[in-house]
């Protein structure tokens, strides 16, 4: 039954008919309905945006080397940090894992030929591109200096905020719908396109995470849509919903905004957790510990994520009672995250851990996410949040979660699936070197910001008092950011090098059991010509390393799934 396994044995030789060579020419890419190509296009676009957002970050860090600001004036600084935030949130982190990696991996992992609605999928991609172009347009129509949160009344005050606000809002609106359509596609795919044998609790945990994410995308993003639409109308015509000058309520805007944007935090981190669940298991070659706890924690995080938005507003003038309720619920969301960390550790226990680049990113994730998660406690606690809110402590916390966790997981995922996507292996040694730089650089950059914040340095400051003792930490942080940047440049270097001259990848370089490792690398156009046989995707005892293949193959003494355990 499992015919897909047989051609894998051909070893690392060029795969004649894969999705990359299936059809040629730029149009065959731009209008492709193949989820793998769409995923790859997303990946390139997201990485492009990441580069731009990263440059902005370096500018911000360089500016803050000296108290009076090194390279920019106030207006420029405000624009740069706004664009850094907006690009990283809307164009990089939100689409990174679900749209780029998810699109590529999800149908193959599931054993489907494509996502449920391939045209809608392509449409999402073009919506994303439109949204990205709107951000570019925002740059040319006067810039954007509102912060990525577009807080009213500053953002609707045409006298103060810059002219690019409406294009940027429209862009974020369009990006929101791109995200909604991706989420819809994934939910329907997971519900309706599972092949026989792929029961809910046989799905790899990455799929559970993506499923949870998709639910949030579908249920939360529309509220952002209406919020941004109202903001556009408010700014253009002055209707007075959020503008206090016309009887509106700026705190109501914050409710609207965070009702989406807090769940959005989990749109960013949940898929990252999903990647890590799979990375840790595959590279430890050990069955994931507590599968159902991790799966349900993804779903409960998705649901709880809707109930905690008010913790962004403890000092905003929100009423005491509401703040207290939100604080209580906020703590409940900490539990599933903690459970995941413990389960990952337990998975490593008595495993066979290969120290290759994806696993290093996996372990780096656990380290960084632990710090990111634990400092969330300081911020969820009402009494301490009052002091820490809107300081660098918050900046450090969400960079630990958004960048150190979500993006590190994304980069780990890229390394994990790179052989599958491109059919090439990258240089492991350079991978480890780059990881070390990224890890050290990251912690240097952002750990120093915890102290900055608790010492009282407010966020979004282009200059700071010289006598408050902030400069030492700023210098540390900036130095760290340079190291981080070097790490990323090296990563880009060896990944590009692998495309040109990397060793050909075997079907299963890491020893994964989920279905994507049953396809060739790169996979064929249709993924599976027949519905694949599904086994326990975390039972690695049936695989062995094959020296000729330079990858993992099925053990000769164990029966293939399909002959024994298809339900």
């Amino acid at each position: 039954m499992s015919t897909t396994d047989t051609p894998n044995m051909t070893g690392p030789a060029p795969v004649p008919d894969n999705y990359l060579t299936y059809s040629r020419g730029i149009w065959s890419w731009l209008f492709t309905l193949d989820h793998k190509r769409i995923g790859l296009m997303y990946l390139m676009s997201v990485l492009g945006s990441f580069f731009i957002g990263g440059i902005m970050a370096l500018l911000v860090r360089t500016q803050l080397l000296v108290p009076e600001g090194l390279i920019m004036d106030q207006d420029q600084y405000n624009q740069v940090f706004t664009l850094h935030g907006a690009i990283m949130v809307f164009l990089v982190i939100i689409p990174s894992v679900p749209a780029a990696l998810g699109n590529f991996v999800l149908p193959i992992m599931l054993g489907a030929k494509d996502v449920a609605f391939p045209r809608l999928n392509l449409f999402s991609y073009w919506l994303w591109m439109t949204g990205a172009l709107m951000f570019v347009l925002a740059l040319f129509t006067g810039g954007l200096d509102t912060g990525w949160t577009f807080y009213t009344p500053y953002s609707i005050d045409t006298g103060s905020a810059m002219g690019g606000v409406i294009p940027a809002l429209t862009g974020a609106f369009v990006l929101g719908f791109s995200s909604i359509f991706t989420g819809m596609n994934f939910i329907v795919t997971i519900h309706r396109l599972r092949p026989p044998g792929m029961t809910w609790f046989r799905m790899p945990l990455f799929l559970w995470a993506i499923y949870g994410t998709a639910i949030i995308q579908v249920l939360a993003t529309p509220v952002l849509g209406i919020t941004l639409a109202l903001l556009v109308v408010e700014r253009a015509f002055g209707i007075g919903i959020f503008n206090p000058a016309l009887g509106g309520d700026p705190v109501l805007y914050q409710h609207f905004f965070w009702f989406y944007s807090h769940p959005a935090v989990y749109i960013m981190i949940l898929p990252g957790m999903g990647i890590i669940s799979d990375l840790i298991a595959v590279h430890s070659h050990r069955h994931i510990f507590g599968y159902s706890f991790i799966a349900w924690s993804s779903i409960s995080i998705a649901i709880f994520s809707f109930l905690v938005w008010g913790h962004h507003m403890f000092t905003s003038g929100q009423s005491e009672l509401v703040s207290v309720v939100f604080s209580l619920i906020t703590f409940s969301v900490a539990i599933p995250s903690a459970v995941k960390v413990f389960n990952w550790l337990a998975t490593m226990y008595k495993g066979t851990i290969s120290w290759n680049t994806p696993m290093l990113y996996g372990m780096g994730f656990i380290f960084i996410f632990t710090i990111g998660g634990l400092t969330g406690l300081h911020l969820g606690t009402l009494g301490t949040d009052i002091h820490l809110h809107d300081t660098y402590f918050v900046v450090a916390h969400f960079h630990y979660v958004m960048m150190g966790s979500a993006l590190i997981a994304f980069i780990g995922g890229i390394h994990h699936w790179w052989p599958k996507m491109t059919g090439r292996m990258y240089n492991e040694n350079w991978g480890r070197i780059a990881f070390s730089l990224v890890f050290i650089g990251f912690n240097l950059t952002f750990f120093s910001q915890f102290m900055l914040g608790s010492q009282g340095m407010p966020r979004r400051y282009g200059t700071y008092p010289a006598d408050a003792g902030f400069q030492f930490y700023h210098v540390l942080s900036t130095a760290g950011s340079y190291i981080l940047a070097i790490g990323f440049f090296i990563t880009a270097g060896y990944l590009i090098q692998s495309l040109l001259g990397g060793r050909r990848a075997p079907s299963n370089p890491w020893g994964g059991r989920s279905l994507e490792w049953q396809c060739t690398s790169p996979p064929p156009h249709d993924n599976f010509s027949e519905a694949p046989a599904v086994g326990d995707c975390y039972d690695f005892s049936v695989l062995r390393w094959d020296e000729n293949e330079q990858g993992y193959v099925w053990r000769d003494d164990v029966a293939h799934p399909g002959s024994e355990d298809v339900s």
């Binding site: 206090p244 016309l246 009887g247 409710h255 109930l307």
Partner: protein, 158 residues
């Protein structure tokens, strides 16, 4: 999976008679709710009762549309569950926002905002100027006259 009553169909088929019947019920409910809103509840606090009745009727109507017109009655329960979840999230959102805005109502600075007050003052000034100079220009002058005539006008009404 929908149970197909008619052979070969991919989805459930709702008979035409049932659709017409449901539509008639919906129209009747619309008429009812309009009639109720025009009733004069002398003894009841009309505002409260009317809101409850109107929203109750609307919910019944919406449920009928969902169940029959939209085939939810014959569809997978997960769809109903998901749809209801979205309504629930809206309610949740509204209730938290309400809790907060209610508690904060006393802190709102009363009166017109500066911007609106300036508009009103400007209109006032122009109305007075128009009145003083006796200039006859459409609404402004009409207004000026009106304000002056108001008492006389009321007296005349009796």
């Amino acid at each position: 999976m929908a149970d197909n009553h008619e052979h070969g169909a991919v989805g459930h088929i709702v008979p035409i008679k049932m659709l017409v019947g449901i539509c008639a019920v919906l129209l009747f409910l619309t008429a009812l709710t309009v009639w109720v809103s025009k009733l004069n509840f002398d003894t009841v606090n009309i505002g409260e009762a009317n809101i409850l009745i109107a929203m109750g009727v609307a919910t019944v109507k919406a449920t009928l549309v969902c169940l029959i017109f939209m085939h939810l009655k014959w569809d997978r329960p997960f769809i109903s569950f998901f749809f209801l979840a979205s309504v629930l999230f809206v309610l949740l959102f509204v209730s938290f926002a309400l809790m907060d805005t209610h508690a904060n109502a006393p802190a709102i600075i009363p009166g017109n905002s500066t911007v609106i007050q300036q508009k009103l003052d400007a209109l006032d000034a122009s109305a007075q100027a128009a009145h003083a100079s006796g200039e006859v220009s459409d609404g402004q002058a009409a207004h000026g006259d009106h304000a002056e005539d108001a008492p006389a006008h009321d007296a005349a009404a009796h």
